[in-house]
């Protein structure tokens, strides 16, 4: 069966950009997906589940990133977009009721 591919564009809003803490939350949330998730910034395309990869994007305030999920739970990539939209403010980020 063809796995769905879902794309979502987000803009980094927090003044420090995608620094350590956001990158950590971002990668950790991505790891909870079964789908393969890529983050694309212009010509760079990296693994969203890798904090190292995510940091190499050097995303700053105003940077536009595209999330591209491929797999069974790709539709839920919205949750990652939501994390970015909320400027990485978390309370339920990591407990949105997904298993692993």
């Amino acid at each position: 069966m063809e796995m769905p591919v879902v794309k979502k564009t987000v803009v980094i809003n927090n003044p420090q950009g995608m620094h350590m803490r956001p990158a950590e939350l971002f990668a950790r949330l991505a790891q909870s997906f079964e789908s393969e998730i890529k983050v694309i910034r212009e010509s760079l395309c990296v693994d969203a589940k890798s904090i190292m990869h995510v940091l190499t994007l050097g995303a700053r305030q105003g940077t536009e990133l595209t999330l591209q999920a491929h797999g069974a739970d790709a539709e839920e990539v919205e949750a990652i977009a939501h994390l970015v939209d909320r400027d990485f403010e978390t309370d339920e980020t990591l407990s949105r009721g997904r298993s692993s």
């Binding site: 420090q16 950009g17 620094h19 350590m20 803490r21 990158a23 950590e24 990668a27 950790r28 693994d47 589940k49 890798s50 904090i51 190292m52 990869h53 940091l55 190499t56 050097g58 700053r60």
Partner: protein
């Protein structure tokens, strides 16, 4: 378990779990390794060395987890966040793959492969716009040091072991080094950066 080697309580009244940094390299077997900076491996050593790499990564991760907990307990969760990030870096699957590939394909020793892989990231961070990301290279050096220390089985981390009042003058202090300073003895610190 080998976590627990450092304590903010210092040397006197050492908690039961305290131990000097032991020879982690022997944890998974009795083979003794020569120390040093041998760069290349004989072909038949690859699998053992990859296992040794993973032992060191796990040991480093449990140290960071211990630090994270200590800092969270003493200073609060927000100060411990940096260690959560270090933990993620140490467990980064892509990083693991990159290091393993260097060991498997190029027959680098785990020590050399760890340095090569991490320094590549440090370089990228330093090339990014803005002071903040450039400074993140420090975090990379911090975890590099930690993994290497576990691989090489170095016996102590001097700065964490001071037993009398000191002033610390340093070119640079990594987050882990700072977190491990014993506030009982460290009266002050000066860094160049």
């Amino acid at each position: 378990m080998r976590r627990c080697r450092r304590s903010m309580r210092g040397r006197n009244g050492t908690p039961p779990g305290y131990c000097r940094i032991a020879r982690h390299s022997n944890r998974r077997g009795t083979r003794t390794r020569q120390r040093g900076t041998r760069r290349f491996l004989p072909r038949d050593a690859v699998e053992d060395e990859i296992e040794r790499l993973h032992g060191a990564l796990e040991a480093a991760a449990s140290e960071v987890e211990f630090n994270r907990q200590q800092v969270a307990d003493h200073l609060g969760e927000q100060y411990a966040a940096i260690f959560s990030a270090h933990l993620q870096m140490l467990r980064d699957r892509r990083l693991h793959e990159e290091i393993e590939e260097m060991i498997r394909e190029r027959h680098y020793s785990p020590e050399y492969a760890v340095s090569r892989a991490l320094r590549r990231y440090a370089k990228v961070f330093q090339s990014l716009e803005g002071q903040y990301m450039a400074e993140r290279a420090n975090d990379i050096f911090d975890i590099e040091k930690r993994i290497l220390r576990n691989l090489l089985g170095a016996s102590r981390e001097e700065l964490a072991q001071v037993t009398s009042p000191v002033l610390v003058l340093a070119h640079n202090l990594t987050p882990s080094e700072t977190a491990n300073l014993n506030p009982k003895f460290v009266l002050g610190m000066v860094t160049e950066r």
